[in-house]
């Protein structure tokens, strides 16, 4: 199928190109926005924002995209990336941000602060902990903080806006925080050890582990992105990586053999 909007764009008829573009992709743009919100006003506001951004600077974004044209490249994938970015940005910044406090309205004060640091300010979990202690006078231990953090994630991502809110922050901490949480200093040491252990893997395999284990991306999508023949390859690489991590942690005494 020809991307009919590109020819008029190249020929200096951007408005015609725009009409054709919107005609073809309106449904996809709305669908991607509705993935995150079904509130009519919000959908329309975000749609307007997407249109405004794509038209900005004489359709610069569409022109850049058209310059990368390739017969087999699914244009819709690029558009999905763009719409996702703009939707999340809209909610994170001025207009949408006003609508999200309702998500955190019922949270206790400590979790509200965590929500602010982690979901709006994009702080790391470790940073949020340090800020809670230094700015807000919190006296909780790191383990207690992690429990509060987990509870904040659960509450914030439970409602109808859960999918959207989850996109604002890093993946949640592991469920069993008791077993893994020390203090931030131990965590930093552990991070160094894990990084060294993973260095024995190829970059692709390291990324597979990161995407599958930490970012919780489905194995099918990891396999597709990394060009693995099947999901079994993802499982195999992840198994080897986790075994290597375990061995490294045991060597330095952070995990003891048979302590499970």
């Amino acid at each position: 199928m020809v991307e009919s909007w590109i020819a008029p764009l190249v020929a200096g008829r951007p408005e015609i190109a725009w009409d054709l573009f919107i005609e073809r992709y309106r449904r996809l743009i709305f669908g991607a926005i509705r993935h995150y919100t079904v509130e009519h006003d919000e959908v329309m506001d975000v749609f307007a924002r997407v249109c405004e951004t794509l038209r900005k600077d004489d359709f610069a974004r569409l022109r850049r995209c058209a310059a990368h044209a390739d017969p087999d490249r699914p244009f819709s994938t690029w558009l999905v990336v763009v719409v996702h970015n703009l939707t999340v940005d809209w909610f994170r910044h001025r207009d949408g941000r006003r609508r999200l406090p309702a998500v955190a309205a019922t949270l206790p004060p400590l979790r509200k602060r965590i929500f602010e640091y982690v979901f709006f300010q994009q702080r790391s979990h470790a940073e949020a902990y340090e800020l809670l202690r230094s700015r807000d006078g919190a006296t909780c231990s790191f383990s207690e903080f992690l429990k509060e953090l987990s509870a904040t994630y659960r509450a914030a991502t439970a409602g109808p806006r859960g999918g959207l809110v989850a996109e604002l922050a890093l993946p949640p901490p592991p469920a069993n925080v008791d077993e893994v949480a020390g203090d931030p200093a131990i965590l930093a040491e552990q991070r160094t050890i894990l990084t060294q252990a993973l260095e024995s893997l190829s970059p692709d395999d390291r990324l597979a582990v990161q995407l599958y284990v930490v970012d919780e991306m489905p194995a099918e999508q990891v396999a597709r992105a990394l060009g693995y023949p099947s999901v079994k390859t993802v499982y195999n690489r992840v198994y080897r990586a986790l075994a290597a991590l375990r061995a490294s942690l045991e060597r330095v005494g952070i995990k003891e053999e048979g302590d499970v």
Partner: protein, 259 residues
């Protein structure tokens, strides 16, 4: 570990890597039933979970910040589709290993593409140059020299490729090109069309009027004030089935004098 499991006498134990999806919250029922009965595999699952949790905890220092090195949207799209050429792939993988923000974008794109609500609209192949280059150049030339002023002798070219459906699309009859005034919009009928939707755009491409009707003409209301000598576009869509519309070409016209 495979040997350890075999030594323990669990000859029917699944391959150790098969425990990975189960340990991380997925996996099929067969694995789940086996793990429930097999202490060796259960212990292995626990070890996998512990190592995974260690990795997830280490990510607590990650921060999602956009930097100048962050990937372009085209690179993210290509990576998700597994389309990166080897030379382009190395720096992208290296960046993703260090950037939680771009990884989150990769993950979100994967999720969106897997959303059944979007499935009918995604993964259309991009075929800008799938028509012969000469034909594309000719089309570009036609567009480049398309008169911007009204000219009765030069009807506007067709800009849209015909819909893939065999359904007949309506054809705008009037107004076209330069006209004295516009009171009605008229188009050809489409067999079995239940209704028609007409859209009128100004020269900037903004919709100024939309109406639906069962007829093949519609009067332009007084509320739509057409500016003399300004360029407008219009098109009409025929609804032939539920949620299925066959669209006409976009037609340009200009009004010579005030309505």
């Amino acid at each position: 570990m495979r040997e350890a499991i075999a030594r323990a006498g669990h000859l029917t134990c699944p391959a150790p890597e098969s425990l990975v999806p189960f340990a991380l919250g997925g996996g099929d029922h067969t694995i789940a039933r086996h793990v429930e009965r097999c202490p060796t595999c259960r212990a292995e699952v626990e070890r996998l979970r512990e190592a995974a949790d260690s990795l997830r905890m280490a990510a607590s220092a990650d921060r999602r910040i956009e930097t100048p090195d962050c990937l372009e949207e085209t690179a993210i799209a290509d990576f998700v589709e597994g389309r990166l050429a080897p030379e382009a792939r190395t720096p992208v993988v290296a960046h993703l290993l260090t950037c939680a923000r771009c990884r989150s974008l990769v993950r979100a794109t994967g999720r969106l593409l897997a959303d059944p609500a979007l499935t009918p609209d995604v993964r259309r192949p991009w075929r800008r140059w799938s028509v012969p280059l000469g034909l594309a150049a000719a089309a570009a030339l036609v567009l480049a020299f398309w008169p911007s002023s009204g000219d009765h002798r030069s009807p506007p070219p067709e800009l849209r490729e015909r819909p893939l459906t065999s359904t007949l699309a309506p054809s705008p009859i009037a107004p076209r090109a330069s006209v004295g005034q516009v009171d009605r919009l008229v188009w050809s009928s489409v067999p079995h069309a239940e209704r028609y939707r007409v859209r009128l755009y100004d020269g900037a491409g903004s919709a100024v009027w939309t109406v639906e009707t069962a007829d093949t003409s519609v009067a332009l209301p007084d509320s739509v004030g057409l500016t003399p000598r300004a360029t407008y576009f219009w098109k009409v869509e025929a609804q032939t089935e539920w949620r299925r519309w066959a669209a006409s070409d976009l037609v340009e016209f200009r009004v010579g004098s005030p309505r």
